[in-house]
Symmetry: C2
Subunit: 269 residues, 2 copies
DNA sequence: CGGCAGAATTGACATGGATCAAAGGCCGAT
DNA sequence: ATCGGCCTTTGATCCATGTCAATTCTGCCG
């Protein structure tokens, strides 16, 4: 059957993106960078690249400070599985840089990736005792971890936080429904077109270049996100190439040559 | 292609469930039953069957009263489309009885049903200006409508309300991910088993009988929910019948003869 | 009680995408 | 610069599910 993953859970070794180095050897979380300890960096949030995209945005300085007191910044190497479905949800995690995939597994190894997360995205559900998905770093990744209980307590006191999480959850829900439409009713060609456009738009919203679309994940990940196989992903990409709709620049960058037509395809004509 | 719906948007006339009668002729919303006007029914919420399952649960009497002032109870006939994707989201709707399907359409009529809603479920996203899906009554349905803006304003003042919505959104999100796994990676047999068990569990949570599973929706709706065709739904049901895992009692009730085995199937062995 | 219309089922056949298998190409390591 | 392993691409074939086309069933109405 399709969509199986080699080892039912563990890391897929190395990965692409950044030099990665010895990632497979080091533990999922590296030593927290000094945070409140280092007097020069009393405000790690001040220098956070992801802040304007995060739940932290729009909070007062005082509120940010209270959040910062809970924060444990960390780095996760590409390929590391750092959340496992069913595991007790001790931490909530805010992604500051890099790319993460979240996924669910069937006992026989079939895998569905339910999302790719980027800077500013939030992992974990405040009111759930257990994680409902697993998460693996696609590239090296920087995160802020919050103890869930402390975060929940803080939510009582910072009303903006709860509202922000609700807004975020609403958007994710809308996107999940879009993905259900894709998975249930779109053809391979439509799926790939939707995927490329989605990544492009996402990059734009983050203020990154949106035309040579960056694909930090491998074909297998794309397949498991779209409900296809790597072979079909590959064939469909070459088909789009042949039709002059895209051009590959290396295997991890796609130039969109006819965005209008791609949109038409992704919408099912 | 599969999953097309006859008319790209409108009601599919009649429907099953209740006598339905002249539903196709009447407008989507019947006249609001008197609410604050009728001195005998000053508290419509008091008599609401869905309350303990709704966002309204756990609010104080005073808070319920403030909500009640916003409420416009209404009845919707089976087959009526009462929310259309993209339409300005004027109302939020709480479902008090009956069954509703929410769905998204592709321009050529392919349809993905993203959920079946029952009593206590909530339609509409507080912070979105437009609906992101369409909704159609599967059976006759009773609802409470809230003007979105007023509801949002009230949310500022009733902290429990926001938290309840966040909890609810989190659960829906988890369920959406489960459905993505189903749509992307499960076989027809696994999909049908999951679907039957899901309905059964849902009924149980609502305090309704969970064994002869009630199927208020038609085969086409089941197909559009599972990313299949009516023919495959039908064939798969007969296959499960042949294997002594279920027995049909009429076309709208399914007896689960071997729940353990069905669970094994739904989990992909 | 018999007749109808829509829904469900069943059958025959077609096909998109999966599976199995083999190159080919990219990238970090040497 | 060269090498080796993994990822990607391509090819050949298969199969689960879709499509097309009749029946058959079910519940409603006269």
């Amino acid at each position: 059957m399709h969509g199986r993953v080699a080892a039912p859970t563990r890391m897929s070794a190395e990965a692409r993106g950044t030099p990665a180095g010895d990632s497979a050897a080091r533990p999922a979380f590296s030593e927290p960078r000094t945070c409140h300890a280092d007097p020069a960096v009393l405000e790690p949030c001040e220098s956070c690249h992801a802040r304007c995209h995060s739940v932290c945005a729009g909070l007062s300085v005082e509120e940010i400070n209270r959040l910062a007191l809970l924060t444990q910044p960390a780095t996760i190497g590409a390929g590391q599985t750092f959340i496992s479905e069913g595991e007790s949800a001790v931490h909530l995690i805010n992604l500051n840089s890099g790319c993460v995939k979240i996924f669910k597994l069937l006992p026989d190894g079939r895998r569905q990736i339910t999302g790719f997360l980027f800077q500013g995205d939030f992992l974990g559900i405040p009111f759930n005792e257990a994680y409902v998905y697993s998460a693996e770093a696609v590239t090296d990744v920087q995160v802020c971890r919050f103890p869930r209980r402390a975060f929940n307590a803080l939510m009582e006191e910072i009303p903006g936080l709860e509202k922000r999480l609700l807004t975020r959850a609403s958007n994710e829900l809308a996107q999940a429904q879009e993905q259900m439409l894709l998975l249930g009713r779109k053809t391979a060609r439509e799926k790939i077109a939707s995927f490329l456009l989605g990544l492009s738009e996402r990059a734009r919203r983050l203020g990154l270049p949106d035309d040579p679309v960056d694909l930090p994940m491998g074909r297998a990940d794309i397949a498991d996100y779209l409900g296809l196989t790597t072979e079909t992903v590959s064939r469909t990409l070459t088909q789009l190439k042949r039709d002059q709709l895209i051009r590959m620049e290396g295997t991890a960058h796609v130039r969109l040559l006819d965005r209008a037509e791609l949109i038409a395809i992704s919408d099912g004509e």
